[in-house]
């Protein structure tokens, strides 16, 4: 149904209509406080959840689930139902194009100058020849989208991504990414260039478009997981890590050969 849309960068403006400056400030303060927790709360076993705020996070998850069930998801479903795939694709392109200035800055801040140059090329070509980003002409010319945000920049500067944090409306994140979200927010030139109504429209559309791309995936994940919260938390962490590595495979994980004869029996494969 909705699978042919290009993946969008992180939903920076997804909470547009909700993020009053005070709330953002609160997030930043909370993030600052949490960074202190992050310092001493590191687990040794890489498979430990390392989720010191789990009770708070699970409560927030419930809140988000409720908002999603009654507001976000129905709107996203209507969006998919009303608009043809092609139109949604174009909308995602325009929103993606608006994110390019931040991609440029963050690529440069990470020393990825070739990608920064490519991003500049993309923005120039797509905004003009691609009619405001509706058509991704640059990709056809070989300039692929290279999404970067300030959270990824901080990560490459050595700031860790723990502990896990579930925030109302923002969803799964961590202190680093939540604070970086605020920085991106203020750094985004379109935040100043667009009139308030357009900014709002962009925020709402971006949230809906983003949610619409994961309709099936999230539904299947929920119906096939034994702990939806834990599954989502792990997916977020690994997804973020992959973004930070720019898609490179993760470092080797040791998966030992077990000696099964010692404590196991042969009747496994039957049936």
């Amino acid at each position: 149904m909705s699978e042919s849309l290009p993946r969008q960068p992180a939903p920076r403006r997804a909470i547009g209509p909700f993020a009053a400056p005070q709330r953002l400030l609160a997030i930043l303060l909370l993030a600052g406080a949490l960074l202190c927790i992050a310092a001493d709360g590191r687990a040794q076993d890489p498979f430990d959840a390392n989720d010191p705020l789990e009770d708070f996070n699970r409560a927030m998850f419930e809140v988000n689930q409720t908002i999603d069930r009654f507001l976000l998801k129905p709107i996203a479903e209507a969006y998919v139902f009303i608009l043809p795939n092609e139109v949604r694709h174009r909308i995602a392109n325009v929103l993606g194009n608006l994110a390019e200035p931040l991609n440029l800055v963050n690529n440069a801040a990470q020393g990825k100058f070739e990608r920064a140059g490519s991003t500049l090329m993309r923005f120039t070509v797509n905004t003009t020849i691609g009619v405001g980003g509706i058509f991704d002409v640059a990709a056809e010319w070989g300039y692929e989208r290279t999404p970067e945000d300030f959270g990824q920049t901080l990560a490459t500067w050595g700031v860790g991504g723990e502990p896990f944090l579930m925030l109302p409306l923002l969803g799964p994140t961590n202190p680093r990414d939540a604070a970086a979200f605020g920085v991106d927010w203020f750094a985004d030139p379109f935040g100043y260039l667009l009139p308030a109504e357009a900014g709002l429209a962009r925020g709402v559309t971006s949230g809906v478009s983003q949610r619409a791309q994961y309709l099936e995936e999230l539904e299947t994940l929920e119906s096939t997981s034994v702990d939806f919260y834990a599954a989502l938390r792990e997916l977020y962490r690994q997804y973020r890590a992959t973004e930070i590595r720019d898609g490179a495979p993760p470092p080797a994980m040791e998966i030992p050969d077990f000696d099964f004869d010692e404590d196991f029996d042969e009747d496994f494969d039957e049936e």
């Binding site: 699978e3 959840a49 034994v226 834990a230 997916l235 997804y239 080797a252 196991f264 496994f268």
Partner: protein, 213 residues
């Protein structure tokens, strides 16, 4: 009625496209002769061919066929034990046995339903990385017929006496083993091993939503 017919012909068209595409994929894979690459290409083709015939099969039939592919291609003893992590040691003999049995059902259900919405995908095993652990990582791509970004899938394979076996699959960098291990640990922490077994059983026995097209 007319909806049924158009769906059928749509399925027929998708099937034809899939056959064409998988033939192309097979050609491409033949270019490289790494046995691990060939193994993964074969496994992917098998899984896709099992899942794509939606017009003439029920989800249960597709799931059963998918199960055979998975049980054959994966090193399930290693996978299942790794996923239970340190709790394997604390589990009793009966719990282990039950866990092993229910784990296969669970994992088959999860991946059969996750991939059941697919149709006409082009699966291509593209390259092999020799991992420092001694395993091989086969990097593959799934291209959806509707367009959009291809999905990157990495298979970690290990050589066995009887040939290669998959021990982990990562989709867009997200490891199946890692994710299930953390998820299972979270359930065991709160409900104990029997609680996990109960939850897994409930998932397996629940009717499949949205899978019956």
């Amino acid at each position: 009625m007319s909806i049924l017919i158009s769906r059928r012909s749509l399925a027929a068209a998708a099937f034809a496209a899939a056959v064409l595409l998988s033939a192309l994929g097979a050609q491409r894979a033949a270019a490289s002769d790494d046995p691990a690459l060939t193994f993964i290409q074969g496994l992917g083709d098998q899984a896709i061919s099992v899942l794509k015939d939606k017009a003439n099969t029920t989800f249960e039939e597709r799931e059963a066929a998918f199960r055979e592919v998975m049980v054959e291609g994966f090193d399930i003893p290693i996978v299942s034990r790794f996923v239970l992590g340190r709790y394997w040691k604390t589990a009793g003999k009966e719990q282990r046995k039950e866990y092993r049995r229910i784990f296969v059902d669970f994992i088959v259900r999860v991946y059969a339903s996750r991939f059941d919405s697919y149709g006409g995908e082009l699966f291509t095993a593209r390259s092999v990385i020799n991992d420092e652990s001694g395993d091989k990582i086969v990097r593959a791509q799934i291209v959806r017929p509707a367009g959009g970004d291809p999905i990157g899938v990495d298979f970690r394979v290990r050589k066995r006496d009887e040939g290669y076996k998959v021990i982990d699959v990562s989709v867009e960098g997200i490891s199946m083993l890692h994710t299930h291990r953390v998820e299972f640990a979270s359930v065991v922490n709160r409900k104990g091993i029997d609680g996990l077994l109960g939850d897994l059983r409930a998932r397996v026995e629940a009717p499949v939503e949205g899978a019956a097209e």
